[in-house]
């Protein structure tokens, strides 16, 4: 396990919902990271728990409804936000990354530095392509994430 991880979350079959996976795929193609794991964790938020433990830095890239213009990328920490998701906990599949991070913090296994890059979607309908507003900015997202971990 490397001290830093960049983790993409989301589903590339649901158009912009998969933006985190698109960014990760681009990063995996373009960098040789000795000290950084670059991981596609798909839609299973709770698995992220095991990627937080033992790291110094974890950077998440995920689709996020933030009330901003589609395509906007915004950097925040878990402390900067509150979830607006309503979760009756009927299913394991209601995963919320913020909940996973909260559990890691409660267990004392979260790294000191957790950064989330949220990217506002245009659409999260079924489809395998990003909407133009996001596709046009993919290079910018990759550069922003690289800058965060100084790759």
């Amino acid at each position: 396990m490397k001290p830093t991880a960049i983790i993409g979350m989301g589903n590339p079959l649901m158009s912009d919902e998969g933006i985190g996976i698109h960014v990760i795929a681009r990063l995996q193609q373009t960098i040789l990271a000795d000290r950084t794991d670059i991981l596609d964790l798909g839609t299973s938020g709770m698995r992220a728990l095991h990627e937080l433990e033992g790291r110094d830095v974890v950077v998440f890239v995920d689709c996020a409804l933030m009330g901003t213009e589609p395509g906007t990328i915004r950097r925040f920490t878990p402390e900067d936000v509150e979830t607006k998701k309503i979760q009756p906990r009927l299913s394991l599949h209601e995963g919320d990354l913020l909940n996973t991070i909260a559990l890691a913090k409660r267990l004392g296994t979260a790294p000191e530095r957790i950064v989330i890059f949220g990217i506002e979607p245009k659409t999260i309908d079924p489809g395998e392509t990003l909407s133009p507003a996001l596709a046009a900015r993919l290079d910018q997202y990759v550069a922003t994430v690289r800058e965060e971990v100084a790759l």
């Binding site: 079959l13 798909g42 839609t43 299973s44 509150e82 299913s91 394991l92 599949h93 209601e94």
Partner: protein, 440 residues
Amino acid sequence: MSTAAPTIKTKTIDINVRHVTRLEGHGNIVVRAKDGVIEKNEWQVPEAPRFFEAMVRGRSFEDIQTVVSRICGICSVTHSFGALKAIEDAMDIKVSAQTSMLRLLTHYGEQLESHALHVGYLVAPDLLNQKSVVPLAASHEDLVKTVVAIHRVGNLVMEKIGGRKTHPIRLLPGGFSMLPSEADLRELMHELEDTIPRLETLAAAIADLAGGLPSFERETEYVALVNPPTYPFYEGQIGSTDLNTPTPVADFESVVNEYMHPQSTAKWCKWHRESYAVGALARYNLNADYLQPLAAGAAHSFGLKKGVCNPFLNNVAQVVECFQVVERSLQLIDVLLSTGITQERPRVSPKAGVGVGAVEAPRGILFHKYEFDEDGICTRANLCIPTNQNHANIQLDFEAFVPQIIDRDQDEVRHLMEMLVRSYDPCISCSTHYLNVEFV
């Protein structure tokens, strides 16, 4: 728990638990009662159309398992295997004994991690009066750490063999693109051996708390893979507690009998009765005779009898299955290490055909069916997920259960109904994940 007839009181119950997502699979609990008279009592599943079936049409047989693994973040291995088995059935592709064993091992890893997650993160908070696993980690830190450790090992199995913790990348029609090393298998063996005492800790905790599960029972038909003398997850025919002889997997459409229901845009299923149930309890009721020793011992300590029809005990059966898959995994690794890993690469040629794959997801039997043209391009797909097979059964449970509890406070009725839905470990809203945040 009391199951006495409801006391008529002058009060109104109005429950409307809406699982708010912007699209596809979600479930609502709606109950309305006035003065003890139930006016509405529904499990509603407004799920969007099955766009994944459309997505695989026109794709090569070599890509299908990668696409369908994205249907679900929890059952990604199971969906991959459903597809691979259907593809191999359609094209008469035979796999080696080594491939079958490695697949089974990966599949056991997914059962272990999913069951641990469900029992530890969703059921345990119910039994310990906590709103979620986060406060549970404060009140019962050791229990949560035990669950996390079990979950981690399940993930590790999938990573070492499938190549990734989720959405596996090494699974191909006919075999694997890359094989684990013997050192990987030895690591897994040690981790799985260390998992047994953790499972004993989890089982002891659940045994202490299982008395808190409602004693509700309703007879129903249970459906799962059967393959005597094994407790199958990956291969077999379709068994039913209403039948003495199994049904071939190729005939699954005559088993699921999908139909539209006005409460739901997801299809519902029924076979010999108005509903049937799939999942750990169904597997247990059909295959309990073939459990491994530790799993059988756990079932005995829980007092879990074959033929049990309390849906809440599905969660207890999940704990039993955790032992089962760990015991079987250790046996498989032992065989693989004894024979050594043979470097083999699948070489398959496409051909036209129709194939069906049936595998047990942690939450019940899953069917995939595909048609291919002579170039191996998918021309038709039909996927039937376990949760859809459980919808009618959940509704009939509501109709039997709610009259037994309607005299209770609204919050308690709602909580018990949520527990009932949770006991099925449903796959709801599993294809999206996005954050929805407000800056503070």
